[in-house]
Every structure is written in structure tokens, then in C-alpha cells.
Symmetry: C2
Subunit: 326 residues, 2 copies
Amino acid sequence: MDRIAIIGLGYIGASIGYTLRLNHGKRYRVVGFDYDSKTQQKADKSGALDESNWALGDAIRDADIVVIATPAAAAKELFSDMAGYLKPGAVVTDTTSTAGTITGWAEEYLPKSVGFISGHPLVSGVGIEEANGAAFSGARWALAPTASVPQDAVRRTIRLVEDLGAKPLFISLEEHDSYIAAATNLPIIVSNAMMLAAARSPSWREIGKFATDQFGEVSSASRFNPDLSIGSLTGNTEMTIHWIDQMIIELADFRVMLEDESCAEPDSLLLGTLNDAWDARLRWENGIEPGVIERPALPSSGDMMLGVLVGHAVAERLRGVRNRTD
Amino acid sequence: MDRIAIIGLGYIGASIGYTLRLNHGKRYRVVGFDYDSKTQQKADKSGALDESNWALGDAIRDADIVVIATPAAAAKELFSDMAGYLKPGAVVTDTTSTAGTITGWAEEYLPKSVGFISGHPLVSGVGIEEANGAAFSGARWALAPTASVPQDAVRRTIRLVEDLGAKPLFISLEEHDSYIAAATNLPIIVSNAMMLAAARSPSWREIGKFATDQFGEVSSASRFNPDLSIGSLTGNTEMTIHWIDQMIIELADFRVMLEDESCAEPDSLLLGTLNDAWDARLRWENGIEPGVIERPALPSSGDMMLGVLVGHAVAERLRGVRNRTD
């Protein structure tokens, strides 16, 4: 029997507890700890844990596997606090979306006698209230072990992931973080930005009445705990910014297309572009090989943005300056 | 008994049929027509209609109420086709999100002997497959009658909306369309733009594996039928563009905040801004009075965008030009 300590008992942590106790009660003894004692009490009472431990040191002291399911930002201090208590040969893995940063912290603070493997279940959910024993069923679980991690630690982590019903997906730290910037950070930023764009309006009180599921779904990532979101966003700032730029370019394209007087016609670039997005979405949803999407031939988005931001008269002059300096 | 003709049998049209037949079978006789005969067959077979009529003229000839539940873009031609068949004193209403444009077409093409009232159920759903007899239960239904509409037509439309289980929300055409631009068109644009930003990437095949519910929800409006989306977007181009600009400004702000080296700190503007969005979202979700959200004090987004779009060296020169022309 492996003793597994789960640190952080939100959606992911509590779901790990439920799943192991439900399906593999004889293989694992689940110990839980959360910095928030109310959350820990909830996890304990709801049956996510075999054992609730009120001191971090006691929770991890004899653990064979330690799973970090806290916000990414908490991991640095946590690793430093954990260092003196870990059993030699223990496996430490995490569940956050910032593989590179967290692996760096693990290498800096954890003793060399334990094996750290960056892990990331590709699921989403909010809070212990939504946690359940099928949260990882059939889901992908990214694993990004570095070359120095003992094979035995990798093997035991794969076993854990499979016992949770998930499928291991091996990947490098760098790839992981660049993909996550688009897959996770981009929707977080987009959702929050849209929520703010609308809610800053003096008419928001009225607009809110007209906002239906459509608005609700697109703004849904603004419901996430900001402490969790910020960890993901700042774990890979450069790539997150890259994706913000891509998003701005797409919005600028839509702006240009809408300014075309014939944009409502059946052969418009606007309809073609909406069709491209629709096609990409359906392919993704149904696991069909993606197609190549050509960017519509438009007047430069840069020129358009200059107009938006500095006014058209000024933009005209700027174009002159730019041409001279290009 | 009122004879009601539903033109367009997608999610809205078929749901109207189901609801009236389910709850008010003695008050209404439901006649249906769709330009797509397969959709009409589905609606007929699934019990949404008392009577399926294969010619538009026959479907509306004796109708007391005609409900247009087609894409907004189809309404112009439809009104022109309908004009010769409508019974004097009939009420015509629609369910699209473009109140101003469609009311203009009604005034141009429909005979003066019928009363047209722009209507818009504030619900969302895709296709006849999702249609159901509770689609409007408790939902708001915007009504924007012009001053020239007979009171009797207004009264009968209110009765219909209430019979469908919805709550009439009276509003002017202009207000309706400006609120819808934020509540509906903004999420459509944002969703499609994000889908394209990701799917145009050479790494999209891999990114797609890492994309979970979060990405799925924020990109969900790209699932909508592009023919429907384009009608909504182009029904109110100017306001839609206004909201795209607001969205770009918010994204530019996030970009500036992420470039700050201390953005991960607990007192960062980034965390404060995520908290603002989270608060706005929860208030909206729970029907709590919105608060005032102050825009974070940041270096000008315009300056930042110039840098993104034209390169920082050029942007430096441009600032000089702008200052001279301000």
C-alpha cells in the first residue's frame, strides 16, 4: 500500500482523494492537508480522505507519493516548507499548469533524494464543491519528467495517473508551457477581458439583462479563483503575451471586415471567416484532424489599429513616418 | 383560438411550437413553415406543429399571429414574399437580435394593415435538436414596438410572450440594439476570434490536446451557425465595432500588466483586475447590483499598441508626431 499525501484540497486535490478511495482503496492510503482548515474539514467530512492531517510536516512525513494540488504560486514556499520532512525515495508531483516554473522550484528547494515530476491533469472544475470521483476519467494527464528523474519515480507516477482513470501524455517542459499558454491562459485572459469590457460600461446594468448563456459561457473563466488564474498566467508571461497579441490581431481583422459595407453578403470575408472558426471548432470538438486556415487578405491590421488608437487623421501622418523608417 | 404561423423552425421556432402545443393547445393552432423542407419535416414529426404547410403563402394566409424565427438576414426577402398574403389586422413579430434593421424592413415591405412588433427572446440554443417546451420558461423577452403599432397588436404579443412562459421587457429599438451589441455580438466575435487565434497556429494540433472545458466554453459561440451569427453582427455594425475596440483596450491593459515584473505579487494590478472581473461576474450571475470598476492606472494602452503593431523604435518616433498634432 502506498501512502499518498495530497496538499491542497480544491477541485483537483479532493477529486484525487475521492477517485483513489472509490476505486483503489486497497492500494493507497490517502492523507490530506490544506492551508485553509475549513477546506480540509470539508474534504475530510465528505469522504475524500482516509486521514486528515493538520500539520504539513506530519501529512508528508511518511508519504510515498506527495501530490501538490495548490495554486502554482504557492508551490515555491510549499517546497521550501516540505524539504525537511520528505522521505528519501518519495515521489513528488504537481497538478498545476506551470510545468517549467514549478520544476525549477522543485530543483531548487526539494532534497535530491526525492524525485519530482511535473504533472498536469487536463481537466477543469472549480472548488471542492464540484470535486468528484470521475473527474479524471478518460482525461489526458500531461507528465513532463526531466532527464534526471529516476525511472522508478516515473513508473510510479504513471501508475497513479492510470489509477485515477487518466491517460499519461509525455511532453517536454517547454512544449507543455507553450501549449498551455494558448489552451488555458488565452481563454482566461479573453474571458476576464470581455467581462471587464462589458462591466465597465455605464450601461452594464441594462446590458446584463440582455446577456444570456452565450455571454455567460464566453465570460466563464472569470468565475475562476483569481489566485489560481494568476499563477497560470504569470508562470509563462512571455507566451501568454504572445497569445494576447494573436487575439488582438484577430479582433482587428474582424473590425476591418465589419467596416466593409458588403460584409453581410453571402460571399463576404466576414462570413468566410466565421465559417473557418466554425469548422475549426467542430473539428476540435470531434477529434478530427485540423485543416489549414488561411488568413483573409485584408488591409493591414496595424494601419487599422493606428486609426483606432490615435485617430485617423494622426494615423495618416504616422504612416508617412513609418514608410520613411521601414 | 388564434392561428399562429411560425416561419423558421430552428431552436426558437420549434420551441415556440412545442411550448404552445404543450401548455396552450386550446388557445393556439400552430402552423409551421421552413425554407428547408427537412427541418420542417423534423418539426412536424417531433410534434412541434398542429399543421405543416409547404407553401409560405398558405402558411400565413389566415394567421392571426406570424412569428419570424429565421436568421435576421432572411427577413428582408421574407417580408417582401409575405406581403401579399397577410390578413388585415394580423400581428407580425420576430425573434431575432436585430430590432432596428428588421423593424425598418417591416415598415418598408409589410402592408400597413398589419402590426409589426420587434421581439427577441433572451435565450440561446442551437438547432431544432435542442428545441424544447421549456426553452422560454422564466426568460426575458424584449419587445420594442414603435409608436405607430396598434395597442391591440401589442396586447396580443404580450399575451403570446406570457403564454410562452417568458417575461416581456419593453425597450426602444435603439437601446435594444446597443445592449445586444455587447451582450450577444461581443461574445460571438470574441469566441470566434479566440478559436481562430489558436487554430491558425502551426502547433494547433498539439494545443488542441491541452485545451479543456475552459477553452471549449470561451470558444463556444464559434459553434453557432455562421449564417445566424453574421445576421446579428451586421445588424448593428457600428456598435459591434465599438465593443471590439473596448475588448482590444482590455486586452492591451492585460498585456501591459503582464509585462510588469512584479505582476505575480499579491498587490499587483493584474490580481486586482482579475478580482474586479471575478466580482463583476459573480454579481451578474447572482443578480446583485453591479459595482463601479475603476480602470487600473497604466501606461497608455495606445502607446503600448503602437509598439506591438509597428515596433518599438518606430513607435518612439510616432509618439513625437502625435504629440505635435494633439
